[in-house]
Subunit: 425 residues, 2 copies
């Protein structure tokens, strides 16, 4: 089953918006066992959309259109599909009522134009999911003697995603005669390179190559860590979920604490949860990251029950006056340790992290860009082993150095909390 993705919108061609939908859909299609060989972007022009759809139907079994389903004169996807099908557009009363009540439920005035969205090409069905106010379409047809299907989903990413997963992918799999269910899970890792992970998993990769199911894929994601995706293909969802769980357990055994989470977990969300579980509070002292550690932590809803706050000690004077770091060089492990201990005490937190270093582009204190010192303190700093620090040389430019610092110091805290749980480990 070959599926072509068509993104519709002049703003995509002009570079005013990046088309990230197509890439996401490509990934989902691959995961669902469906081939996708072409992806096309076309502007808001009926003749050109029709041309693209005809070319796509000539070489693919199914087409997913994304965008151009809004209520304005520029939204031409419905019109173009009807033309390709050789049918007219008809108003659907049920959908009109659904749209009207959608607006009413939100106490918003409905512009008359929105009823255009209740039109569908004759013979097409609406997609059941309708998270926004734009309905999606399933349009089965015969094209040059062969049965084909065009789907239309809105360009708003979360609306598109809900319709793709709820209707389009299952419908495609049914048409493809794929009775198998495909499920995947991502293990998020931090602390090893791609080749390092491949080495740790070498025997298992070899075995899986032989068995063929589940499959593994690595995806390097910079300062987000390295992802290992497990994909299972089974007769039922239950079997697939069981296979994922078994493989996850096996990989976790091989990778140990390198795995910090799964799927949508981030290092921030994981560390926050670990602290929450331990009823511990957190403070940050940041120099080169300039508030990025705190900002990332505050991206996680509910951070406030763990994160008290922090001090951005960008200048040396603030390191001394607010955090009590002795005067002298500040790109040192000692300065990082003093910053962590200082902010923990100053804010009355249980745990603190600190970053200091050279983000670049210029060297500082004779150290090249990328030189970073970090420290973590858990509990009373006078107790043996409660303060830990490292000095690293990070790759990349200013922004990357700072991003790598954030995940590195939070990863350090995570490992420290894990070790804390299992003394002698």
């Amino acid at each position: 089953m070959r599926v072509e993705v068509v993104a519709i919108g002049t703003e995509l061609l002009l570079g005013q918006i990046d088309d990230t939908n197509s890439a996401w859909m490509g990934e989902q299609l691959a995961l669902a066992g469906l081939d996708s060989h072409f992806q096309v972007k076309v502007g808001d022009n009926t003749a050109r959309i029709v041309e693209v759809l005809r070319t796509a139907l000539g070489r693919s079994d199914a087409v997913i259109c994304c965008g151009g389903l809004g209520p304005t004169q520029d939204d031409l996807t419905r019109v173009a599909i009807a033309e390709v099908m050789g049918v007219g557009l008809q108003a659907d009363e049920e959908m009109e009522e659904r749209i009207i009540s959608r607006f009413a439920g939100r106490s918003r005035r409905m512009p008359e134009n929105n009823l255009l969205q209740a039109k569908r090409p004759e013979g097409a069905e609406f997609i059941e999911q309708m998270p926004g106010t734009a309905p999606g379409l399933v349009c089965p047809m015969v094209f040059e003697g062969d049965p084909k299907v065009i789907y239309a989903v809105p360009g708003v990413p979360w609306e598109m995603k809900e319709m793709l997963q709820g209707t389009v992918l299952p419908d495609l799999q049914r048409r493809a005669g794929l009775n198998s269910v495909i499920r995947s899970r991502v293990l998020r890792t931090w602390g090893e390179s791609e080749s390092g992970l491949a080495e740790l998993l070498a025997d298992r990769i070899f075995e899986l190559d032989r068995i063929g199911n589940p499959t593994l894929a690595f995806l390097a994601s910079g300062a987000e860590g390295l992802k290992v995706r497990i994909t299972a293909k089974c007769d039922t969802a239950e079997e697939a979920e069981r296979m994922l769980a078994e493989e996850e357990a096996r990989l976790r055994e091989l990778l140990g604490p390198l795995v910090f989470g799964t799927d949508d977990d981030t290092m921030e969300s994981v560390v926050l949860q670990m602290l929450r579980d331990r009823s511990m509070t957190l403070a940050t002292a940041e120099s080169l990251t300039g508030g990025m550690v705190g900002s990332r932590i505050c991206d996680v809803p509910g951070a406030s029950d763990v994160f008290l706050g922090g001090v951005i000690s960008y200048s040396a004077a603030v390191k001394t006056s607010v955090l009590g770091v002795p005067e002298g060089p500040v790109v040192t492990e000692e300065a990082a340790r003093r910053m962590a201990v200082g902010v923990r005490e100053r804010l009355g937190a249980d745990v603190a992290v600190a970053t200091t270093g050279v983000a670049g582009p210029d060297p500082a204190e004779g150290q090249p860009p990328g030189t970073v010192c970090m420290a973590v303190v858990v509990g009373d700093p006078s107790a043996a082993g409660s303060v830990e620090s490292i000095r690293v040389r990070l790759p990349g430019r200013r922004r990357q150095v700072r991003e790598f610092t954030v995940i590195t110091v939070l990863g350090m805290l995570r490992r420290r909390l894990l070790d804390h749980d299992t003394p002698g480990d």
Copy 2:
């Protein structure tokens, strides 16, 4: 002149990499006065690349291929173009030497495979610019009786950009018979909606619609503000630059302080420069933004001569203990003012900004998400008018609310500094 962009690489289809090159090229083509109606992504498969190229040549005058020019067996762009041209690939000795010396100059071993890159379809020329080790191609041909041209550039963004601007765009303009030079400049604005700007500029827009040169375009960029792009088309670069300068002056007169910068300026970089010009230092006190104001400021190289640091007072206790905010409700203008005054004093800065509010998803202190209070203090807080605060209701979800807060509070500081310069204004 219709130009089609073809991005080549299986990883683009699988969503492992977002294709941002096509959007960038689309913008450049539009700026150069060239039409681009279609953009296609295709995987590393010769037959499919050939098919895409033939379709593109059938409906466009020129095609730009991006990617697939590396030295591996997966790099098939050269092969596919030769097939479409109906010619063979020939090794180019001069290019072989250039590649060899490129590696030698970097003291790196050259893998034998890299010499594959010195092959070109018969009749094709290499692109002069060669920032990396992959040469680009200009391939003129006759397709179905019409003169056409295919360009091939690498997928590495900075290599692609250098070749596009250095060779591809000028060559396209020459072929299109466009002797004119096109230049553009972006005015960055903050503080008005798109319709608000359009109203302020209504007379000028009307006039420019009549004259036709330069042209104006609006681009809403969320928490980056609203961009107004001026594009001038003239016989010489000097004339174009003069036209841009004149139009910029005219628009600045109409928009006044709404314009905070041009092209790559950001609110952060502009505010830092204003403070630097005034020899003033800055401190931040952040609650809902959690360090994002500081982090954005530290994104700008050289921030350290202005930015001393800040306090992330996420919890109410830290607002009180470190910044001296009285106990009580903290989503108030009074709390924001106390935070700003407190951090200015605590860090010994000349100027401070503060943010406090409800990022969401849940309400706080009975206030709905998006409720934000901000304050700015410039100079001695006991002087009349030195402290300023606002209370706003920002749209969007957690992340957006925080991003809008950052540019809003920095925009407030900018206006405050401007007013400071012109008392009585």
